[in-house]
Symmetry: C2
Subunit: 461 residues, 2 copies
């Protein structure tokens, strides 16, 4: 029963109908069984008058869950309309990391109001997490985890979990710390439940803990959670004190965001953090123009090459008509290689030490690809361009020039495409920007140089 | 303490040293504290003689965990070398869904051996899951979950969890079924632990269950787990009987794979399922050539347009030198729009009903982008091409042709780029193949047509 678009339309109509007829009890019964993310999606289509009304119908806990899932404009609107008591109620129900996410999106006056109505401990934790730079483990962790002492028995531990559990983000993994809050080990709730009541935590815990530092890159943390199939990863400060945990749901979001960011960079877009339809026209323009501009200006070189060989083109004008095909094929070949390598780099499948293996592999792939394309193109030029379209200037010699260029271009494209991202990563650049558009621009220029070289050799122009 | 490349090199050296000196006890102590995925990465660099040796040093449970993480060639090699007893031991330790993954990769004779040495219940479950087509919920689920009855008390439930827990993939979420195994509700281990011992499961369970059907697309299932922040999602058959669960770690893998697949398709590569360096040259060639070939042949149209306007180009030869810049900028603009839309589609942010909003947004973005680029290009042509490079054929009229074409090309590119993926999805095609290379080919032809139109109007050629 995964979400269906039609159901949503139907529900929306029902909601609007119930509101217009003021059947609030029925509306509440309609919403109660829904999951928070689904209610939030429905709320997107409600206006300023109806949203607070619907929101107030929900029970406290569900209301808080829905609140977290709303987009920041709607959250702000709701907060502005909340009485102080209402705000406090919602805040009390939120998990710390969600509160931090909300605080990060709100304008200063709303943040002040939120902090004023959080309890002192919460306020301290929020300020703590806000200190960490974006994109690091500290900024996505939560401080609401279960901590145990190594000297506790399983019975003590279960008592502690039962007492503190309701406020924790997860009880599935518990962490063992000493008096100085240093991380000693961890154990899952399964281990605890499957042990005897008088077993000592220190004896049954796992002391080989994979942990992150507060300033580790959030992507590395998410990859680690994925690699080790953990439900949470502990985060320690420079003195190895446990300060928080990153849970798997947040790691999944990070992986999705990072994939989006890579995809955007590969398409020469400056990455943003808002969904497509929420990004304004001006913002989208700002994200897209810089690379377009740079790539446009760098095409000056290809223009210069063409101007330089103007006489050759005038002598054999048919050569001009194969330029788009050559630069297109070169660009596509380069894109394939660079994309494959960039993705492999970001999944950790390829490292700098693999450079030679990658280059050797691409050499061989390029050779077979190039020869195949050249053969197909030769046949096509002779049959379609020369014979069917009846163009006498398409001679076998011209076809030979085009086909030799194809082989050379594909080879160059694959080599440049595969090696640039690895080299970029080595010197600390983001490999994703070495993708398609950038490679195409380089390959364009190279393919023209190769083209005119072969034209000179074979046609003597 | 996330994985460090240097540590790995160091460890490998130590392992090889200990093996050569036959210090097996030391080697075992070195490996014991490591996590299974890390040991598996180290094993990648071991040869056929040492791998079984190292593997046999590990305790049973850890050995099984490492086995799952190895790549299929190494798994096959190990199985071939296992005695029947060893094989049975490893199989007994594996979770069902991991066993299925392994079985799917092995040649027929190895599969037979595996099935012969699994216990009958396991064999039945493996065959059950193997029946489901790839890429559907049934094929990634596990049947090892905790099921409870609605009439049980919390005390009964905890007893059952303690008894059956060791063999289950997760105990964090438990599912409530009736006599006919129909899914009634679910509850987390947290809810169970935080309830009173004599509470009845039927009263405390959540009956609003989000579930998947066995044949639902695995990507939808993974997206649902991500959206609702679940640790597992139940899978039911057509009669609403609970047959398995999909856990969050598998969902994360699916999301990563699907992102890779989208990225590959966007780069005109036929998606494969092996890591970059494990894919053979021939396989890579097969994945890359079809689209390259198709795109190369479709560039025939741009060639025909150029041949058709040969006389215009002969009259004003400088026009030729701006063709790569125009087609490059058009291609890049189209790539940006299509990539943004494809990603938004795959994250569920954009649907078919948003088509007009998307088009309207892209229209405005295209207009400002186009005008900006045109202005910059006009200045560049006048200052660099005409004045600095001292090319008298670059007149303001020529610059006007190029700049008007830029605006038109960017507009076409953004509109085609943004709308094609949405239309493709509507008619049931994969939007990702409507990406960069495909759009570029269309935009190339369009930009040339626009170019020669403006050339005729402004320059009268």
């Amino acid at each position: 029963m995964l979400e269906q678009e039609e159901q949503r339309e139907e529900l929306l109509e029902k909601i609007e109908d119930l509101i217009s007829r003021k059947r609030y009890a029925e509306l509440r019964d309609l919403l109660l069984p829904l999951e928070a993310p689904d209610i939030a999606r429905l709320c997107e289509d409600l206006d300023e008058q109806t949203l607070p009304l619907v929101f107030r119908l929900l029970p406290k806990e569900q209301a808080a869950e829905v609140f977290v899932e709303l987009d920041s404009d709607q959250q702000e609107m709701l907060i502005q309309g909340f009485s102080n008591t209402e705000l406090k109620e919602v805040l009390d129900e939120l998990y710390l990391d969600d509160t931090v996410d909300i605080v990060e999106e709100m304008p200063a006056n709303v943040v002040k109001r939120i902090l004023r109505h959080s309890d002192p401990e919460m306020r301290k934790s929020i300020n703590e997490i806000l200190k960490y730079p974006d994109d690091c483990a500290g900024s996505i962790m939560t401080t609401e985890f279960v901590d145990l002492k190594a000297t506790m028995t399983v019975e003590d531990a279960l008592k502690r979990i039962r007492r503190t559990g309701p406020d924790k983000e997860t009880i599935n993994i518990c962490y063992v710390i000493d008096e100085g809050r240093h991380l000693l080990g961890y154990l899952s709730i399964r281990t605890i439940l499957l042990s005897e009541e008088d077993d000592v935590i220190g004896d049954i815990m796992d002391t080989n803990v994979i942990f992150a530092h507060t300033l580790d890159d959030q992507e590395d943390v998410a990859q680690a959670l994925n690699k080790y199939d953990f439900l949470a990863l502990p985060v320690v400060d420079t003195e190895h004190r446990l300060v928080g945990i990153v849970t798997v749901d947040d790691a999944m979001d990070v992986l999705q965001e990072e994939a989006t960011e890579d995809i955007e960079k590969m398409a020469a877009i400056l990455p943003g953090d808002k969904p497509y339809l929420k990004t304004g026209v001006f913002e989208t323009w700002k994200a897209r123009t810089p690379w377009l501009m740079m790539l446009m200006l760098s095409a000056t070189f290809t223009g210069m090459i063409l101007t330089h060989f103007e006489n050759s083109l005038a002598a054999v004008p048919i050569l001009t008509s194969y330029i788009p095909m050559l630069s297109g094929t070169g660009g596509n070949s380069g894109t394939q290689a660079s994309t494959a390598v960039i993705r492999a780099l970001s999944l950790g499948e390829v490292r700098f030490s693999d450079l030679l293996r990658v280059v050797w592999k691409e050499c061989r792939v390029a050779l077979i690809c190039g020869v195949c394309l050249a053969l197909a193109n030769f046949v096509k030029m002779m049959v379609v361009d020369c014979w069917l379209l009846n163009n006498p200037t398409v001679t076998p010699a011209v076809a030979a020039v085009v086909c030799c260029t194809l082989v050379g271009t594909v080879a160059c494209a694959k080599l440049v495409g595969a090696s640039l991202p690895i080299l970029a990563e080595k010197i600390g650049f983001d490999p994703a920007v070495m993708a398609s558009p950038f490679i195409s621009t380089i390959v364009d220029a190279l393919s023209l140089l190769i083209y005119f070289r072969f034209a000179t050799w074979i046609l003597g122009v």
